[in-house]
């Protein structure tokens, strides 16, 4: 028997004015998987993420997370739902007036009634878990580099040990080494917590390295869902261009040879 999906989107319609972003979009995310959402610019990847977490109101369709509808529930259920997922925005979206540790403490402070020293201890564990140096704890977001901000944003997203984390382009703007380290981090923490990861990305290396399944957004819908191998066989101009383009071949080669950059 297959388990009910942890996220279930049916017939989603999103519009901004006259511009249609999603038209009858369906998507299932299984518990414990890392699903990568890809698509060209403007196909509504981030919009889909924002809609699922309830930041945008769709025109039509149902969205269920943990079997509960996100669209029409009372405030208490919504609050309980938010406790069970974490969101990391593109540039971390850290609160600029708080230090990194206070940022990680913020969800604990809002959602739970914890003694202050326990909160600090747990926040420090999360900050170290994402691989930030000790000095970063008391620094403000403006003092951090882009990669460190992303790590701190990730630490805040997993502050309450959520069951799902939504990551919006976690490796965009990182150098390849930093991006690979971030991929490894996502994979490690996913294994440690049994997380379900909803990953919006452009990064073929990420898709290749950590994603269990890939969903392609095109023509206002989810065009296809499947593993990397299945994606390679799909006959759609954009999917072909994306998974068979020069960058894709480079990413594919990277998995087979030890150091492609060194090859002459």
């Amino acid at each position: 028997m297959t388990e009910a999906p942890i996220i279930r989107v049916r017939g989603l319609v999103t519009r901004f004015g006259t511009q249609t972003v999603h038209d009858g979009l369906d998507l299932d995310v299984r518990r414990g998987e890392i699903i990568g959402i890809v698509g060209g610019s403007g196909t509504g990847k981030s919009v889909l993420l924002h809609t699922i977490v309830g930041l945008l109101m769709p025109e039509a369709g149902t969205i269920e997370v943990f079997g509960e509808s996100v669209r029409d529930t009372d405030a208490a259920t919504t609050r309980a739902l938010r406790r069970r997922w974490g969101v990391m925005f593109q540039d971390g979206a850290l609160f600029s007036s708080l230090t990194v540790r206070q940022n990680v403490e913020a969800p604990m402070r809002e959602q739970l009634d914890l003694p202050a020293d326990l909160r600090e201890t747990l926040a420090a564990i999360k900050v170290r878990m994402v691989g930030l140096p000790e000095a970063a704890m008391t620094q403000y977001p403006a003092e951090l580099s882009g990669g460190m901000r992303k790590r701190a944003g990730f630490a805040r997203a997993i502050a309450l040990d959520p069951e799902i984390v939504f990551l919006d382009e976690p490796t965009a703007g990182l150098d390849p080494v930093g991006a690979a380290a971030f991929d490894a981090l996502i994979g490690q923490l996913q294994a440690a917590f049994g997380l379900t990861v909803f990953l919006v990305t452009h990064d073929l290396d990420s898709l290749n390295a950590i994603c269990d399944r890939i969903a392609v957004l095109a023509d206002h819908k989810v065009l296809a869902v499947g593993t990397m191998e299945e994606m390679l066989r799909i006959e759609h101009p954009w999917v072909q261009a994306y998974f068979h383009g020069p960058r894709a071949r480079a990413a594919d080669r990277g998995t087979r040879t030890a150091s492609p950059d060194m090859a002459h």
Binding site: F66, P133, E134, Y140, F193
Partner: protein, 375 residues
């Protein structure tokens, strides 16, 4: 696997029982349970245990793993029994991240640090003053360059800012000055009536509005309204690296952003001050008529015969200087905004406070100057 979890079904909270040298944990050891256990720590079993049995745990999160590690440490290295692979992994990860790998030396809190803090602030204040003066010089030099090459002046931007800081401020400035005129007439009449000198209320209103209040209060309103807008607009551009982009394209931010704003203020503040003068006299005349029965004709003739035109000129001379202060401070604060939203807010409020303060200081200096030259 819990299947499609129900939000309403709260799992049984964790419970700790001691049997012999065996500590048994049951229930869901999640963050809420840990918070409860930490609070009621006084009742924790004292005798040393050799084994911590986690077989009956239904759930464990990071906080739970942390609590098990601290429990283990308190019982001097008791072994953890019946943990699943995932639980063992999580406990190991938490144990590894519990202690700082590269401890940061604590910041000293003594009198030396306190004095150093004061010193730093003083130096920063002096540096800011120096930076503002050098920025003023830069703006003046750019303006001089524009005089030599007038076609480089951004006329569209200048007109746009004149509209923003001038035209759109007319209603609020006129209303403010009108009310000031009314208040002066009302308060003045109450005092002057005591010795039958009601008619001197005209002189009182004319001199105070024309010479001081009209232009000073206009400058304060403009500092709050346009100075803050300059800082916020330029600061937001700085945050989005637009200023850096301009520099790489060979555009001078001072010529493009600062000069049109400062020139617009210097052109419009005298105009606004003139409107404030008229409006203040109107308010004063109206109140004098209602309250004291000084008819508009009497007010007019007394105003023309008794008030020196220099009172008006003093006000107008001050206007461009106040405009320069507001514009320079507003733009300079905008250009020194750092990378975050917090800094933008601080600079915007700092800009308003500093420009209003300097306008009042400058007004005092003008008073001394005009008193010395005798006008």
């Amino acid at each position: 696997m819990t299947g499609p979890a129900l939000l309403s079904a709260a799992p049984a909270a964790a419970h700790l029982t001691a049997t012999g040298d065996r500590l048994c944990l049951t229930g869901a050891l999640t963050i809420e349970a840990v918070a409860r256990l930490v609070r009621s720590d006084a009742t924790a079993p004292a005798p040393a245990a050799a084994v911590i049995d986690v077989a009956a745990l239904t759930a464990m999160d990071t906080a739970g793993a942390w609590w098990i590690v601290t429990l283990q440490d308190r019982h001097a290295g008791a072994t953890i029994a019946s943990a699943t692979v995932e639980q063992t992994q999580l406990i190991a990860t938490v144990r590894r991240t519990m202690t700082a790998t590269d401890p940061v030396p604590p910041v000293p809190h003594d009198i030396a640090a306190w004095l150093a803090g004061i010193g730093k602030r003083v130096v920063a204040g002096v540096r800011t003053a120096g930076a503002i003066v050098s920025f003023l010089g830069q703006v003046v030099a750019t303006c001089a360059g524009l005089c030599l090459h007038p076609r480089r002046l951004r006329l569209t931007a200048l007109v746009h800012h004149c509209d923003q800081v001038g035209m759109r401020a007319v209603p609020i400035v006129a209303l403010m000055a009108f009310l000031i005129g009314v208040v002066l007439a009302f308060q003045g009449s109450a005092q002057l009536r005591q010795f039958g000198a009601e008619v001197f209320v005209v002189d009182l209103i004319a001199i105070s509005v024309l010479r001081e209040l009209g232009i000073l209060l206009t400058a304060i309103i403009v500092a709050g309204r346009s100075g803050s807008a300059f800082t916020a607009a330029i600061g937001a551009m700085k945050m989005r690296e637009e200023i850096d982009a301009m520099r790489t394209l060979g555009l001078d931010p001072v010529a493009v952003l600062v000069v049109p704003r400062v020139l617009a203020l210097m052109l419009m503040l005298p105009a606004l001050g003139f409107i404030a003068d008229l409006s203040g006299l109107l308010g004063g005349a109206l109140m004098a008529w209602i309250d004291l029965g000084v008819s508009p004709a009497v007010f007019q003739s007394r105003l023309l015969s008794n008030t020196d035109v220099w009172h008006f000129a003093v006000g107008m001379i001050k206007a461009p200087v106040f405009a320069l202060i507001i514009g320079i401070i507003g733009c300079h604060m905008g250009l020194t905004v750092g990378g975050d939203a917090e800094s933008l807010g601080q600079h915007t409020s700092g800009s308003v406070v500093l420009s209003i303060f300097l306008v009042i200081v400058m007004d005092a200096l003008f008073s001394i100057f005009f008193a010395t030259v005798g006008v």
